[in-house]
Symmetry: C2
Subunit: 147 residues, 2 copies
DNA sequence: GCAGTTGTTTTGATGTAATCAAAACAACTG
DNA sequence: CAGTTGTTTTGATTACATCAAAACAACTGC
């Protein structure tokens, strides 16, 4: 038996992305348990470090960059806070960020994909992507402010 | 005569924003000549420094922050490059950024304001703003890539 | 006009987030 | 199992921005 059942799908995804299967990469990918989770490099490192004591934060940056380049992770770079990574990819969803605590929620645009991806004037640009970010206050930060 | 005609409107905007009128602030505001221009703190400093030799980059950061807080400038923080500032405010326009050279163009959403400001699920957030950023390649970067 | 108060700018240090280069190392090929 | 190639580690370095305190200038009332 050549594959560890617990890592079966994670390993398979690395292989089909043309990446070598290494312990840091398995650990980083497995640090994203559920889909709607958004972790900073720091947070990923905190989750990975206990199992891999020899890992450094720089290594995590390298692994994350490789996974983003291969399309296994998506990088989000909100204004004013550290970059976050998420496993939910391939669908055009957007983000709702709390200005109080930087919490991030996934949202789908109410009108679907097309309109937000079509500016009125492209200025000759070849369009590649569109980011939509909503800013506001999450329920607990609203409560904290109301006190 | 108490006001310099060349600075009349700039000065007036500072006053009505409740800010003291100082040389650095006049110079920074006047560094934005036409509306659709997007300058980084560095670029503002480069435009301001010749006329105000005693100004430092930190001072420019301070002035820019004050102007943004007063609503006289808008701050844009694109992923992967330094923050930019623009004078066009009060309308809900978006930005088109070149991944090759970081050039920024203004765009208006084809469907107007409302739809892009309305996510399907607010997760209980109190919404404050929505940013839309389009990513692509500007004409000259397309040409450079085609060579 | 002039002095006091308040807000602003300057100066210098500090911090965070992230990248880079080179050496040590491990995964996949035959 | 050995060689090659790609990855990780280590350490230094960068870019961008913020903070604190002292020096300073703008606006108020006199």
């Amino acid at each position: 038996m050549t594959t560890d059942a617990a890592h079966e799908s994670t390993e398979g995804r690395l292989r089909s992305a043309g990446l070598k299967v290494t312990a840091p990469r398995l650990a980083v990918l497995d640090a994203f348990p559920a889909d709607p989770i958004h972790l900073s490099a720091d947070e990923v490192y905190a989750r990975v470090a206990p199992a891999l004591p020899s890992t450094s934060l720089q290594a995590v940056y390298g692994v994350l960059a490789a996974l983003v380049a291969s399309g296994l992770l998506r990088k989000i770079e909100p204004a004013g806070s550290a970059a976050r990574y998420e496993k939910r990819i391939g669908d055009n969803h957007h983000h709702l960020i709390c200005r109080g605590c930087n919490a991030i929620e996934d949202v789908d645009c109410v009108i679907g994909e097309a309109p937000c991806l079509t500016p009125s004037d492209t200025h000759g640009f070849r369009l590649q992507a569109a980011d939509v970010t909503f800013w506001g206050l999450c329920p607990s930060c609203q409560a904290a402010l109301a006190e």
